[in-house]
Subunit: 116 residues, 2 copies
DNA sequence: TTGCTTGTATTGGTTTATTGATACAAGAGG
DNA sequence: CCTCTTGTATCAATAAACCAATACAAGCAA
């Protein structure tokens, strides 16, 4: 389920992209699962079809999703978690929760450390 | 250091807000530290002063920052990851780099672990 | 093949964000 | 007191995002 917030600092397309990303990464949208057609999702969210298409295209450019034509847009298989020290990851997540941070906050912190 | 990406789906104001948020929560901007004046940061980023002011105002509305007038805009104490967790963050980033992962990959793994 | 669905692209009009400039009041410092 | 800095507010003009409608080609199914 995707919900658009008019008061959100980001626009509709970015909100759709971010929420679908979260649905995929949380496993709620499994690999090979099919996203709703652009027209359908656009109708549900009271948004133009081009706006949903824009979000889908960005999802594809980041590799989260692939798209045939009449085949629709489908979820790509996920990342291999074994490549990382999962214990450290879990420690970070636990500490962040304790500090009252959101997922987006933690991802921002990762980005800061990444570019440091 | 704040960097604006013209290709980013979000606009300048939102990018500034998100990056300063991350800098604060990662401890790189300590409590009571002073943010650059709106005109200065605007000049550095080649952006209008009102755009930076808009970002500052949203930061204040979320409580991350306080603002006097000529006192400037300063970081509020509180929402920071503890030093231990920050070390874990660095370990994760280092391991990810070694494994050849991208920043987006790591952020995705964080998201998966977050919803696990 | 035919028919239908889907993603993509285009067009024109509307809305929102950003710009650049200006002005103002609160506070700091001399 | 005065001066300077800072955040805030406003304005008209430009840029970007979004909308609504349409058309098209790729692929699936019958």
């Amino acid at each position: 389920m995707i919900i658009l917030d008019a008061a959100h600092p980001s626009g509709p397309a970015e909100q759709i992209r971010a929420q679908i990303t979260a649905l995929i990464q949380s496993g709620e949208l499994a690999a090979d699962a099919r996203l709703p057609p652009v027209r359908q999702l656009a109708g549900d969210l009271r948004v133009a079809a081009g706006t949903v298409a824009k979000a889908y295209k960005e999802l594809e450019s980041t590799g989260l999703v692939r798209t045939g034509r009449a085949n629709g847009t489908r979820v790509n298989p996920g990342l291999v978690l074994d490549t990382l020290a999962l214990k450290d990851v879990q420690r970070v997540v636990t500490a962040a929760r304790k500090a009252g941070l959101s997922l987006e906050d933690v991802q921002g912190i990762i980005a800061v450390s990444w570019n440091a």
